[in-house]
């Protein structure tokens, strides 16, 4: 697959998990990938090295997307690297902490909204001058936005906000030829969902899925790569559930 040759892509939160797999998939398809990380510089650099070793193009950029100006700073760095055109923006960086209604703190609530909602919003805003006809934006939703799974009411609300943003962004940016979609992973075997690595977590997960295996980061990355590609040129405003048929 080399359908993204000469395209530029930014993947936030790309040092680990779904973001890392996505950056790898986009690079394998020929895109030049900006690998954003929050704090895991070493993991991001190792991914860049892997991509380059395989003949691909990648650069790592750090930015704190929890800070009010984090998206602005990242956009400025991206602009320095790619110039005037960004073909694919994957706003993947996200954080999740489980907490009951009683135990939810204001600080953690605000931090999740800052990273999961505010940062994608302002990243799109700040990168708009680089996005144009044929550009594709992919946001990360979650199964939790659609169904009560786990003890995640505040996290789920951030992802509900993403589902809403997808529709408004797609409608507002459609006339400029920019597509905006989301993928909504179910339980995926990453650090964020490591409860699925316990037997109890595994049984819980399989109990709500049609397909009887735990999802991998690659399962989601392949769908994001599709949404970024020309094959999805008529797909916009959609949230695609990638959860092995969870809660259907």
């Amino acid at each position: 697959m080399s359908d993204l040759v000469s395209q530029t892509a930014l993947v936030t939160g790309a040092s680990r998990g779904i973001g890392r797999a996505t950056a790898g998939a986009l690079a394998a398809a020929g895109a030049r990938v900006i690998v954003h990380y929050g704090s895991a510089a070493r993991e991001a650099e190792s991914l860049v090295a892997e991509i380059r070793a395989a003949g691909g193009k990648a650069d790592a950029v750090g930015a704190d997307l929890g800070a009010p100006d984090g998206a602005h700073k990242l956009a400025a760095e991206v602009r320095k690297l790619v110039g005037e055109r960004l073909d694919i923006l994957v706003a993947n960086a996200g954080i999740a902490t489980a907490a009951s209604i009683e135990d939810q703190t204001v600080e953690e609530f605000d931090r999740m909204f800052a990273v999961n909602v505010r940062a994608p919003f302002f990243l799109v805003q700040q990168l708009l001058p680089l996005l144009g006809e044929g550009s594709s934006v992919v946001l990360l939703s979650s199964l939790a936005a659609r169904a009560s799974v786990g003890l995640l009411p505040a996290y789920a609300a951030t992802k509900g906000a993403i589902d809403t943003l997808v529709k408004h962004f797609a409608a507002l940016l459609g006339p400029r030829g920019i597509r905006v979609n989301a993928v909504a992973p179910g339980v995926i075997d990453t650090e964020m969902s490591k409860f699925a690595r316990t037997e109890e977590g595994r049984q819980f997960t399989l109990g709500m899925q049609a397909l009887q295996r735990i999802g991998h980061a690659d399962d989601v990355a392949d769908v994001i790569a599709f949404l970024g590609s020309d094959a999805a040129r008529w797909v916009t405003g959609d949230t695609i559930q990638v959860g092995g048929g969870s809660k259907i």
């Binding site: 392949d222 599709f226 094959a231 008529w234 959860g243």
Partner: protein
């Protein structure tokens, strides 16, 4: 999978035909089906001209004997069935609810709903025996939204989405995925018949964020994706391919 065996119903025009050509480009072996022998043989000649192994098998999906013969002959010819695209559909007779009859209901539901049930019945029997396969049904924006003057078509496509989810849950047990692709307005003969006038067609297109009607090839690309291993963790889902119509 290299050279998957793909069966497409309603393959002689519009989205079905574009889907056959898209799968041909992917190296698939094809069975195209429809009700017109001359158009079928013409399409097969075109596909073979592209170097594709292809057969036309006449079938009217409203009749179980036809559907069973279609699946049986596919397996007899190619030895297996990897992908089925249940695309055969009709817009029926558009008109207000107050004018509908048992006949107008049957004219739409026999193809759009019974046809999908009968098709999945025989496709899934084959895929169950294989322990693998992927089905893509064709829904519509009207599979999850209403439209005046199209009550029966709307109801029939809502039924397709329900069938897709239930079948996905059953088929997961034997390693088969079932999804639907839901196009918005697409430049086909059906759209011209459906809208009835250039003004009505222009009005429909004005509501699409990407500001044009879709092309059959664009729906075909999404169908190919949904059927492929790239979508291996997607099942029971309805993928909207509509230029953002349902986002606005």
């Amino acid at each position: 999978m290299s050279h998957p065996v793909v069966l497409i119903t309603g393959a002689l025009a519009g989205i079905g035909r574009a889907t056959a050509l898209a799968f041909a480009k992917e190296g698939a072996r094809l069975v195209v089906s429809g009700r017109r022998d001359d158009a079928g043989e013409k399409l097969v000649a075109e596909l073979r001209g592209l170097g594709t192994e292809a057969e036309f098998i006449r079938a009217d999906v409203r009749h179980e004997a036809d559907v069973q013969n279609l699946v049986d002959k596919t397996v007899a010819r190619f030895g297996r069935l990897d992908v089925a695209v249940n695309n055969a559909g009709t817009e029926g007779k558009p008109g207000p609810v107050t004018e509908q009859t048992a006949e107008s209901y049957a004219a739409t539901f026999d193809t759009n709903v019974l046809g999908v049930i009968l098709s999945m019945k025989h496709e899934l029997r084959t895929m169950q025996a294989q322990g693998s396969g992927s089905i893509v049904n064709l829904s519509s924006t009207m599979g999850h939204r209403g439209a005046p003057g199209a009550s029966i078509y709307t109801a029939s496509k809502h039924a397709v989405e329900g069938l897709t989810k239930a079948a996905a849950l059953e088929a997961a047990a034997f390693g088969v995925r079932v999804n639907a692709v839901a196009p918005g307005p697409v430049e086909t003969e059906m759209l011209t018949r459906f809208t009835g006038s250039a003004d009505r067609k222009a009005g429909l297109v004005a509501g699409i964020p990407l500001k044009r009607a879709g092309r059959p090839e664009e729906i075909a690309d999404a169908i190919v994706f949904a059927s492929s291993d790239k979508a291996s963790f997607i099942s029971g889902q309805i993928i909207a391919v509509n230029g953002g119509k349902t986002a606005s």
